[in-house]
Symmetry: C2
Subunit: 662 residues, 2 copies
């Protein structure tokens, strides 16, 4: 059996694992009718949102499909559709399982922490393994197709483009939806009406819960599907050029992916709290098991495919090392146990302004260690095995996607479970369990965002290397000298894109929040008996309004990274595009890391105060911390994560237009 | 008379102008004894601060002086001291005139707007023309010395290094002082004790006024002195290499400087409100007059020195164009008349969080137009006359320093005048005048910050070009290919420095504010009768405490850009340093522009509400806007402006160590 077939088998195994887990979850008790009603409302809203989001993207995709067919032929056009469709599928399936898991987690919480934890993680693992499995199959199958039809690797590039396109829309649309609903609902509910979070009397409460799913689940899934696909593709393209047609160059990245999927499946069985109450260690056990098994498999794969070259093996270790490095760094900056979060909390005691200053300083500071880590990894893997070595390190990092996304997708499920428990007035014992899970879910969401941005950065660097090699194939000078003003100006323009993109995304959240605020105020005024609980709010209307706002707001920023390389390419040429790519990667990494880490730090500073420090809930310090959390929301859940696909789509488009830049 | 002598004469003219203006100001009536007492307290605090700041920097400078002497010889070591001393002198003289002008402006305000405006601008023009005059003399004289002793241009580089060192300390120390005092004083005074701004019962009120002078005046003066010096030097070094010893290469940048100084002196006479009440147009009249006269002079200088080459003349026009472009762009984003400020004000109506989100989005968005402007200017001037063309555009922009700094230094004088009027309970008519001047001062401060950062960016690019040419002289490959991982990693590390630097600076403001808060609380508690006005607060103690905090906090961030290129140089070599320089310029520009513009927008959003919109002073919207202003303070007055010298000092150090990188 060759290694391409092996990767198809491993991908299929991941999907089968997902199906089995889904069946198991669906067979768990759903809970009381009121819980089911809420869960159904969330599921309905989430599906309605995704359906409309995909319709909008579909319209854009059809235009691009036509252009690609006309320009590159049928196969690249169809690969584009496959990339887009599978990315959408990964998000769709994951989210559908999540919205069915949430109510079952709330019900399992009645039995205890262990049951609830295992159910929530099972739900998350479906998303995780679907993402990794579908991505690996997409790449391997498309590669086989290219071999059947002419051998050009162009269809791989369009596959990545399709995935990227869905991903940037999903991250933006989902991110704008989730934070627009969150901020808007809290603004009227908590501040104006004085009712608690997740109170069923608030017309926006279902929209808020829908947001967790479309943003943190479907959005994250599409994002990592895309990062996985483009990293594998870039590694294969680079490998083919660097190893000059040696089939190992194609096999090895796919084999790494296959091995780590098997390791991730095994790793999921290690997620178990045992007799302890420690949730985070239970999740990390799974990650560590998957990593150790992956390393062992990588060692044997290096022997089988790369002649046992230890330098090659070392590059795969670097990828795993970066994963753990990002986990440790992000935990340090965002966990309540360390100085940064405490410092922000203490700054809240002197007011809103000082909370924000402390948070902004922390967010900027938190970029340094990740950048040094990514730089060191790039340099080390380059000196071990050249550009292909960097690609392998990136692929090794991404190969853990299955288990990492499983841990991440745990977050929105527990968040929803907590909401359902709250809305249906479950006993305190149950809410204690869901609260504990939700708190950990917040940390895993932060940590995996660090993983996502670091891997996006590495992936983008590998794409950039592919772009240079692609140009070199046509005999183009690819030194991209910083002394060339076109390169420099391209770099400046590229650097401006993440700033512009993030600014538009933040303003979009404001617009979406404004829309739902108006609607909630209207319902409070027009529907008599809402506040006394006699009349039910029109949850669906609120969902509908945020949906429209999010879809409207996502278009402009999503198109920005697609057209920028085309405009720069046809004005400043290849040199300008080379600079553009590095510019967008550079500030993309800084803005992305500072936003995701800073946002999580603000969030946990608020939670630290809510845990009883500095006067606790309701104190002035708490009010200032809520302000910080409000600012952190679009930072960490909209603009920050949307930068991941954004920096890659610029690179993918550059790769597509490379032949025309000469 | 040759053009180097001409530039010495023009520099002397600027200094003589400054002396005459100073005498005129000192002859104006000082006002009532209580006004004089306050003005004296401010002057005393500011002088005490500067004396101690220079003592700290002096200690560091002596070490560097010794290293330079040992390493490069006596002349470069002495030029370093001259650069440092003249930069300090520019700040010292300017500030001393400012602290004497403030009370005279407050007194002149009794006569009317026209008298107060003319007095305030006269005070500012001393700083402006001292900066430009001293800078031009420093460069021309040091060049003459190099010609006398061996001809190496190294002493010019160390001259720039000395100026940079003072500048980064002055910006940081002054910035931390001014905002630490401002934020801390407001926190206890306005929020805890409920007394208005500039209330004489507040023990921190003198420290706050001292801060305006040491930050906005002395800091700004040192900054622009340095930018002027390094731009002229880099242009001369580049010119010598590119024009291969043609003396015109040295003469022309100096001649541009000389011509624009004469034009700036003439321009100051155009600053006059005439019969109208419009303050801003009166100031702009001076800038426009100086620019038009400069352009005419540049045309004739091009004829006399550069053979009437119209391409060369065009590069000087580009410099003037960038100046006006930055004025227009910054006004657009920070003025109350346009959408951005109104949008932030409206977002304040829904809370602290939404104010901050809107402000952050605006700050990020505001980077785009300046970057396109700088990019376009660089590209155009490069295609007109190569690297030397870029240098000439930068020099032309900087040549307007005299008039621009004059308009800027107007700001802290009017700010202080307002404070003195408030503290001495002047009649409303007087305060109306000082308030109007103060409001315009805020805008001019914002606008000239845009000028400072854009010119710093251009200057840094010219320094980078000098660095590459310096390496090329030794036969080094200076392509700095982005495909070289060392260049790329250097670029990432460079990009991280402005983030780290700005984060430390923001935290330093927090620390300094914390120190003065404790002191003010102590005085309120221990000194009986402060609140009833029977006992006088110990203003000096508060000044002393902020001084200590600012000086302590400035050391680490100021040293960061000095050692970074040395560390990167000796680990990643010349390639790494090349990347480092571009990295630091790139994110330095983005972080710098976003902070200075964003901060000013927040400030004016607050003022917009205070002008009666959205509920006016005391409304919830106003409270949220005050939060935004508090965040904007360290953004626009500490971290943002300190990035100007920071991005240049990295480039200067690289130029110094260039011979060792081979």
């Amino acid at each position: 059996m060759n290694f391409i077939t092996l990767s198809l088998v491993a991908g299929a195994a991941a999907i089968i694992y997902g199906i089995i887990q889904t069946i198991r979850i669906l067979n768990l008790p759903k809970g009381t009718p009121d819980m089911i009603a809420i869960s159904d409302a969330i599921a309905e809203g989430a599906q309605a949102y995704l359906a409309r989001q995909y319709k909008v993207i579909g319209a854009i995709a059809i235009v691009i499909f036509a252009i690609l067919w006309f320009w590159m032929g049928a196969l690249p056009a169809f690969s584009f559709v496959i990339g887009a469709a599978l990315s959408a599928t990964a998000g769709f399936v994951g989210m559908n399982v999540a919205v069915r898991s949430n109510v079952r987690v709330a019900t399992a919480a009645k039995k205890g922490l262990k049951e609830a934890l295992i159910t929530a993680f099972a739900g998350g693992s479906v998303t995780g393994l679907m993402v990794a499995g579908l991505a690996l199959i997409a790449v391997a199958a498309t590669y086989l197709l290219t071999q059947k039809f002419g051998g050009s690797l162009n269809p791989l590039i369009t596959l990545g483009f399709g995935a990227s396109l869905i991903s940037v829309f999903a991250r933006l649309g989902g991110g704008i939806f989730t934070k627009g609903a969150d901020v808007g609902t809290d603004m009227v509910g908590k501040i104006e009406a004085g009712i608690p979070e997740d109170d069923p009397r608030n017309p926006g409460v279902i929209a808020d819960n829908v947001g967790d799913n479309v943003g943190d689940d479907a959005g994250m899934a599409a994002d990592l599907f895309e990062t996985y696909v483009v990293t594998a593709i870039a590694a294969m393209i680079l490998g083919e050029i660097v190893l000059k047609g040696n089939p190992a160059a194609i096999s090895f990245p796919l084999a790494i992916g296959a091995g780590a999927i098997i390791a991730s499946i095994i790793g999921t069985f290690f997620v178990h709290p045992g007799n302890s109450k420690a949730i985070m260690p239970a999740l990390y056990k799974g990650l560590i098991a998957a990593s150790v098994i992956s390393i062992i498999i990588f060692y044997f794969l290096t022997g089988a495919i790369m002649g046992g070259n230890l330098k090659v093996f070392a590059t795969t270790l670097i990828g795993i090392f970066v994963t753990f490095g990002m986990v440790v760094i992000t935990e340090f900056y965002t966990s309540k146990g360390y100085g940064t979060v405490k410092h922000i909390a203490e700054a809240s005691a002197t007011g809103h302004g000082t909370n924000i200053i402390a948070g902004l300083a922390a967010s900027m500071k938190s970029t340094f260690a990740p950048i040094i880590l990514i730089s060191g990894a790039t340099l080390a893997s380059y000196y071990l095995y050249g550009l292909y070595g960097v690609a392998l390190a990136a692929m090794s990092m991404l190969s853990l996607t299955g288990i990492v996304v499983a841990i991440d997708a745990f977050g929105p499920i527990t968040d929803n479970a907590g909401g359902i428990a709250e809305m249906t007035n479950q006993p305190e014992k149950v809410r204690d369990v869901t609260d504990a899970l939700d708190a950990v879910g917040n940390t895993t969401k932060a940590v995996t965002k660090g993983y996502a941005i670091a891997s996006a950065g590495l992936a983008a660097l590998v794409l950039f290397a592919s772009f240079t090699q692609e140009l070199a194939k046509f005999g183009h000078n690819v030194s991209f000298s910083l002394s060339d003003p076109k390169v420099l100006i391209g770099l400046f323009i590229g650097a401006s894109l993440p700033y512009l993109f993030a600014a538009i995304a933040m303003e979009a959240v404001g617009a979406a929040a404004g829309a739902i605020v108006t609607e909630i105020r209207r319902q409070f005024k027009e529907i008599k008996g809402i506040m006394s609980g006699r009349a039910k709010p029109e949850y669906g209307r609120a969902v509908d309004i945020v949906t429209k706002a999010a879809l409207k707001e996502m278009i402009v920023p999503a198109i920005l990274p697609v057209i920028a390389p085309i405009i720069v390419g046809f004005t400043l040429g290849a040199a300008g595009v080379g600079g553009l790519l590095i510019g967008v990667i550079t500030t993309g990494l800084f803005v992305g890391i500072s936003m995701t880490t800073g946002g999580a730090a603000w969030d946990n500073a608020k939670k630290y105060i809510e845990a009883g420090h500095l006067g606790g809930k309701g104190s002035d310090a708490h009010k200032a911390a809520v302000t910080g959390d409000t600012v952190g929301d679009p930072y960490k859940d909209t603009a920050g994560p949307a930068l991941n696909p954004m920096i890659k789509i610029v690179n993918i488009v550059a790769l597509l237009i490379a032949p025309f830049l000469l």
